[in-house]
Symmetry: C2
Subunit: 800 residues, 2 copies
């Protein structure tokens, strides 16, 4: 069985034809965003539509958090992303009939998201029920150089007969969110979150709407302007408190066309006055209109050229994977490029999933990619975390801890988790943030960031670990009662992932304070406190099962009863939907890579033999009920030499959204899993390891790959790693020489002086480990039983 | 500091004078109930009032259960006790002014609950703001012989001047419940749960109201009739859909009085037709009216005489304790006497606390008392559990288990817990129920009950344990991931209390099936299944810390970090209100007796030395944030010889409601803690142990006690144990001779032939163990800092 959906192309992704059943998949995959603003890939005319999203990063509404039985420290208020006024809607009336692809005759319909131009194209030929044929061409971009600006280039042409057309370009403020909450209080709070503040229309083509969210008190302004080309009979703009509308009427002769270019600006602020917001948004639209579509498109292309020049990943020999990795990188870039001091939500700005919350996977999965591909975006995301430190400090105080406890899920920085065993107890989020800080500092040497934000994050999180941990009588430091990445094993002692990440956090904090003693002093850090951090790090408990020769996921984990995998039916996955937490928690069953993620992120702590044994052991327990799992399993599978298995996991991560493997595409994209596609290729097949002073590589390609080439931004230059089965060439574009390792051997590469090294012979890894029944990656990938599109070129269900 | 509230008397409890601040305490303490019907001790005229409750056991409304993040197996629907139409209200107008004790001059106000007559008396002398003085005398009873009937004997007399009086006797249907739920959906569902069905008035004195609950669909009918004595100018009754009202007007000359006797009947059913309910309730009222007040009061007295004759506990030398234990027994009796196939809620029928739910403490704390004092009530409560088996079987299936999983909290039998770590995971509830079945069978030899209900409960719960447990490679049987009685240590492995109770359950089930092979066959039990139960029981894990020489509360418990008791302030208790579960769960801190409860209930499993060491160890960890703790600690303290400490804990249990130690008296009484007063005296000071074939005693009195005498109903006779410091006399009222043990030595007692034995010398138990700071019983008892009443006789804050 195969389940190809999209058209395969090197530098973009398209969909030819029309099937309403897969509408949500296109809406998410064709999402445009720039980190500040996001528009789902809905049709210009708005309908048909599954989820019509327009989002501004940070704009949310508060709602009550309901509990059947509350408890101390349970958050009172939740936060949900909301739809901001949506400027992407352009409705069309042909003759007297609304253009709707479900009526009349759809002669052709093509959508194509171009990764190099950053433009979503659409080309339609349609004959109305009355027999009038038109050609519709639209181009949509969210500017990467003017962060508040989106633009639509919209052209309608009469094909054979003269046609009366009316084009209605709108800003719509009342698009409903999917009602995911069962609780009526929550639904009520989110039903109409925008309260009108002001509206105005001017010059026939311009309008501005202003709103304020009812509870969270966030001001939002959206403005639009239009350029009209062609013989328009009338152009008129009106605005009401909830809607703005520019109506263009024209009579097109056969072959004649009407072009409308729409510029939409978006600003928000919790504190700016309505007047200030209006001035900003109208200025942004004015600037965009002066640049025009071509100007914006030109800047967009230039931005992306620079991005791809440094960061493109080339996979020769596997066309669908070539496309998938560029799609993944493009969407990861879009989620963060211009976020600036804002978060990277789990779904980016591509959908309302997880209520728009940001989780630990931003730092653990997305930031590794951004650090090496778009470090300025990584910096912005870390600055956002820094900006929420007061929330995290308050949370730590509430929990009777010290330092800062970052939230499990949040928009504003406040904890929004309503289930503490998988929220509050998952303290590793603070270590993941610190690890991202340390990685960013290693990769960029950004001393300014370290001084201004980095030290403080490291210090406050180090303090958290000291307050959380305890010394036993033998001088071992323990972290009891926490939840690691694996949400099927909650409230455990000495989770190895958490402990090793905390260890790195403590050491990094001590080192950073010693580098910036004045900052340490500002933060009240004594020399003794740094020594305590080092001592705790050195004494950190790391449970190991000597009998099996493997690390335990947590103290005693390997002694627990194993889940009855053979007695679990295919349709009983995900387990959390079919079994009580009670039973899941007490048995050996792993939702997502946990110890295996430690094998990757803290690789220096594990010998090759320990890595191989542990990987094999946890493969038998891991059910991948989280999208975060496959990338880590791919990386470690590649590391231990199981390249076909690594390819299977990579395929799962790469197709999770394209093939909607989890049946949740209406929520938006899995940004962290998409980031994991890059990591699986670069850290898995490329063998990149970045924990120490020197970046190391050990590229080994899958049998289907002829070449794997990727760029690594490192201290303001780009290292390109160009791997072929027989050997790898390292080249540097600028700056001082760079020392790195190739299969453990140091080499130095200088600009203009590429270095090529052979791939050493590989040891036989033995037979690959097996997974729980129904949960091998091949079974998961093949589980999608929707019919394949007839006309789609070959992307194998499972990569060979 | 002392905090006596009520007047001390041997056979009742009273309150002289008036302080509005302690109103809720009187409302709960003066509650009347018969197990079917409950009326809080509110004033006849309805105001002032804190919580005006009238309850019918089982009548509840359903409401949604809200979750911020739901999960598999979370209950959808909750259940809450509601106020049924309240027939205790009799309003009075004197001249043109409503009688209200807060206006005019209250010259005297006495309330007295008489344990022998089962009547709540009230005597008031009041002068209206206009200067008219009246005497009000009311008597209220809830019949123990006519379960649906309540009656009020109400008399108003003019003292010196002639007075115009209007007496308005009502059934009120719209008394609000306290709004304890934060969630608006839940509040809405409970705001007006009764939907009117029918109403009628007849004969000037009679009225009937009928309702149906909106969601749970329960029909409720309440009827009243009146006898009027005295020179009434008019008597008139009217009924509307929400209210019934009998109005009596009279002009009383000086010294003249008007008497109104009100009879109120109550019936409910989920299935009966309105007509059938009406007929039943009107028939009950008619029968009551024919008996008249004196007839009802006579039967009430006879019922109570029989109860006290068998079950009175005499404590000479400690008057307040004499009163407290009779109060406790009286309220325990009231909660269950005529419940018949209905549950015993945590608050009995004395208040809306815990939403009227029934918990494990019904079986673990209340049924031991009822089994030996009112076995027919114990049988009814167990029959109720049996009647909910289908719910429990469905719950077990939902959890992928076998047999029956009884709910943590419920009214109907469906699980209503919204927090699974302290609900679903607390599987011990099913063992507690089985233990109560086995105890009832041992004490009564009720083969009919065993055959009809007992075997099935035992079999289905045994099946639960087999499905829950696992065999390890060494042939040990484990119960992983459960929560024991201590709610501060959730999701632990091999909780000793749970395991020992499950062991007893398994053995009891096997034995019962072998006694009733036909029933076993009906239930599909094979001989092999019984053998498996015995094998699992024999192999049950019982974690023991060999270094400390004590049993662990659960596997590894003694190795966990200790709570920082010295760093915890007095006002940070209860801990769950001031610290996150995360931190509480991972440390050694005990909310309520858990291993110590096992020392009591499974005493045969522990040597004296193990008992003493374990008691001392867990004393240092137990904070008693549950009212269920003090009784168990009292019992075991007495057993290991710490009699003053046992007395302190007994004092805490006995004053929990009388002195409102937990500041929650508006919720109603702590029925299980009150039952614990009996257990502390009988099982603690009396040393009664009932696990085996022969009941054993070992009475040792506190220094302040001159005599402790109690009755034990055993197989249709009463054993009276009459203990003095120097020795104990055992006597039997009827039936065949009874073999028992006195300090380990068997003796036989026959009717008419009492046996007296000396108290053997006691070994020095050493210094008493200490409790966490602020949590010694003395500190808890003294923590109530409300001012003492000036006029109250001496009940010491802490018993000497």
């Amino acid at each position: 069985m195969s389940h190809r959906s999209f058209d395969v192309a090197d530098w973009g992704i398209g969909w030819s034809g029309w099937e309403e059943t897969r509408l949500a998949r296109r809406e998410s995959v064709f999402s445009l965003a720039n980190g500040h603003l996001g528009w789902r890939g809905t049709l210009d005319e708005g309908d048909p539509c599954v989820v019509s999203g327009a989002y501004l990063n940070g704009v949310h509404e508060q709602h009550p958090m309901p509990y059947a039985e509350g408890g101390y420290g349970y958050p009172d208020a939740g936060e949900s992303v909301i739809n901001v006024p949506d400027g992407k809607v352009i409705r069309l009336i042909v003759g007297d009939e609304p253009f709707d692809i479900r009526t009349g005759t759809l002669e052709s319909h093509e959508q194509f998201l171009d990764f190099r131009s950053g433009v979503l194209r659409r080309d339609v030929r349609w004959t109305s029920p009355a027999g009038l044929t038109v050609r519709l061409r639209s181009r949509r971009l969210l500017s990467l150089t003017h962060r508040s600006v989106a633009a639509v280039d919209y052209e309608i042409a009469a094909v054979s007969d003269a046609v009366e057309v009316t084009v209605v370009s709108e800003i719509v403020s009342d698009e409903p969110l999917p009602e995911v909450h069962r609780d009526e209080r929550v639904r009520a709070a989110l039903r109409a979150p925008l309260s009108p503040v002001a509206h105005r229309a001017a010059d026939d083509t311009r309008a501005t709407l202003e709103f304020r969210t009812r509870r969270s008190g966030i001001g939002v302004a959206v403005a639009m302007d239009h350029l009209v080309e062609g013989r328009a009979a009338s152009v008129d703009t009106e605005a009401s408190s909830e809607q703005a509308r520019t109506t263009v009427q024209a009579r097109l002769g056969a072959g004649e066309s009407l072009r409308l270019v729409k510029f939409v600006g978006h600003e928000w602020s919790p504190s700016l006055s309505p007047g200030a917001l209006r001035d900003r948004v109208e200025a942004a639209v004015g600037a965009a209109a002066r640049l025009g579509w071509d100007g914006l498109a030109h800047e967009q292309r230039a931005y992306l050229d620079a991005f791809w020049k440094a960061s493109d990943v080339i996979v020769d020999g596997v066309p669908w994977l070539q496309q998938a990795v560029r799609f993944a990188l493009f969407q990861v870039m879009q989620s963060a490029a211009r976020a600036e001091v804002r978060s990277i939500p789990g779904k980016g700005l591509s959908g309302p999933g997880y209520e728009g919350h940001t989780f630990w996977d931003a730092e653990a999965f997305v930031l590794p990619v951004l650090t090496y591909c778009l470090p300025e975006a990584a910096r912005g995301a870390l600055q956002w975390r820094h900006s929420t430190l007061d929330h995290a400090r308050a949370r730590a105080r509430q929990l009777h801890l010290a330092g800062a406890a970052f939230p499990w899920r949040t928009i504003s920085g406040s904890e929004c988790s309503g289930y503490w065993p998988a929220g509050t107890a998952a303290f590793h989020v603070s270590a993941d943030i610190s690890a991202a800080v340390l990685r960013y500092l290693r990769a960029t040497g950004d001393g300014e960031f370290e001084r201004r934000e980095g030290v403080e994050i490291l210090v406050e999180t180090a303090r958290l670990w000291m307050a959380l941990g305890r010394w036993d009588d033998d001088g071992v430091f323990h972290l009891d009662g926490v939840t690691g990445p694996d949400e099927y094993s909650a409230l455990v002692d000495d989770n190895v992932f958490t402990n090793l990440m905390a260890q790195r956090n403590l050491r990094g904090a001590a080192a950073s304070v010693r580098t910036h003693p004045a900052r340490g002093q500002d933060l009240g850090v004594s020399a003794g406190e740094c020594d305590e951090w080092d001592a705790a790090a050195a004494a950190m408990a790391v449970p190991f099962d000597a009998g099996l020769g493997i690390h335990q996921q947590y103290a005693g984990s390997t002694e627990r009863e194993r889940w009855d995998f053979d007695g679990t039916a295919r349709e009983q996955y995900p387990l959390q939907d079919h079994f009580p937490y009670f039973d899941i928690y007490r048995k050996q069953v792993v939702k997502q890579a946990d110890l295996v993620l430690a094998l990757h992120l803290a690789h220096e702590q594990f010998s090759d033999e320990e890595t191989a044994r542990a990987f094999a052991y946890y493969e038998g327990l891991t059910v991948r009920d989280s999208s975060l799992s496959a990338p880590a399993q791919s990386i470690v599978a590649a590391r231990v030499g199981h390249l076909p298995l690594a390819m299977d996991y990579l395929t799962e991560a790469a197709t999770i959204d394209l093939d909607d493997l989890r049946n949740d595409i209406d929520d938006g994209l899995h940004i962290a899993a998409l980031a994991g596609v890059w990591s699986a290729l670069v850290c898995g097949f490329g063998g990149m390891r970045d924990g120490g002073d020197i970046v190391a590589f050990a590229p080994r390609l899958a049998s289907s790959m002829k070449r794997l080439s990727f760029g690594v931004r490192h201290r303001e230059r780009v290292l390109r790693v160009d791997a072929r089965p027989e050997g790898t060439t390292y080249s540097l574009d600028a700056g001082p020489p760079m020392t790195l390792r190739h299969f453990g051997q140091e080499l130095v590469v200088s600009p203009g002086d590429p270095v090529t090294r052979d791939t050493p012979p590989r040891a036989d890894p033995g037979p690959p480990p097996s997974q729980p029944r129904w949960r091998s990656p091949r079974e998961v990938i093949e589980a999608d039983d929707e019919p394949a599109r007839e006309d789609s070129p070959a992307r194998p269900a499972v990569a060979g």
